[in-house]
Subunit: 179 residues, 2 copies
């Protein structure tokens, strides 16, 4: 059997002892269990300014977001959010608390959004950002935000400003494709 | 190449455009991206009683937990927690709010724990439970709980009893193997 003829996990099948279909490899039997993925993000601020990144990658290339991305193994959600801020905007932040969760079940994303304080006002665009800059609330590019989750989280930030012990709300989104 | 000689995703390699090692299949090139998984659970109550399940599966077989399990695609965290309560204990519950998150980075688990009210006092052990029963707080089998996350969540429940708008705390655990 040549490498070209191998198909990887491509056949839907209910594995023994399971109760739903999973993608399995018809050649080696590997089962690709797909579960929802966690996106960790942080609204990063310095004084009254919000740090925003213009995306260099799809989806929503050229649009604005605060730093966020997929959580990796061997990190906490807070550590993941701080890592994304460093990777996308070159900033060191102190994660303060959780603003809420934004869920998109149809694509299997659970986004855990934080508040974070920048340790200094310096920043630098990472490889996944075309540009990074500060916006005050009034300057925010509302019409050019990358995703509804960005808008929801910024509004949530504003709603609970000055509060501690922020309640853990979860917003479940209607699905819309951005590709 | 026979089926027996195929190895599935078994070789650690940094995929093009990525920055960390992933398990890849040396035969077909499939990349097995492993990300943290979400466990959804709910402290389910009826009057002053807590619904607990004795686990029929490893890890911690024979030990007690409230209903919890891996979140699936195409559901919200609240829907997942309600589904687990139905699968493991045969109960219909109304998910009320989030008590907090319990994280175990070393095994890539992020547990999102809820409060839930049972719609009736009926229940029935599902296939993953040896037994399901009510305990009052004073009867709780503290020495036979399945995981530290179960104890943490029950204590959190007690701490915020009577409160609404519960703050979203996250507890990051030290790792301990239960196998």
């Amino acid at each position: 059997m040549s490498k070209q003829s191998l198909r990887g996990p491509s056949v839907k099948k209910i594995p023994e002892g399971d109760d739903r279909e999973r993608l399995t490899c018809p050649d080696c039997g590997f089962i690709d269990y797909q579960n929802p993925r966690i996106v960790v993000g942080a609204v990063c601020t310095w004084e009254d300014k919000f740090l925003m990144c213009r995306r260099a990658i799809e989806p929503s290339i050229g649009k604005w977001t605060f730093p966020a991305g997929f959580m990796e193994l061997n990190e906490s959600v807070a550590q993941g959010a701080a890592r994304e801020a460093f990777e996308e905007a070159g900033v060191r932040v102190e994660i303060q608390d959780i603003l809420g969760m934004y869920e998109v079940p149809q694509v299997g994303h659970v986004m855990i959004m934080h508040r974070a304080a920048m340790r200094s006002p310096e920043f630098e665009a990472g490889p996944e950002s075309l540009e990074v800059r500060f916006f005050t609330w009034d300057e925010m590019p509302w019409d050019d935000l990358a995703f509804p989750s960005v808008k929801w989280t910024l509004e949530r930030y504003k709603d609970v400003m000055g509060q501690t012990d922020v309640a853990c709300v979860s917003q479940v989104a209607e699905f819309k494709s951005y590709s």
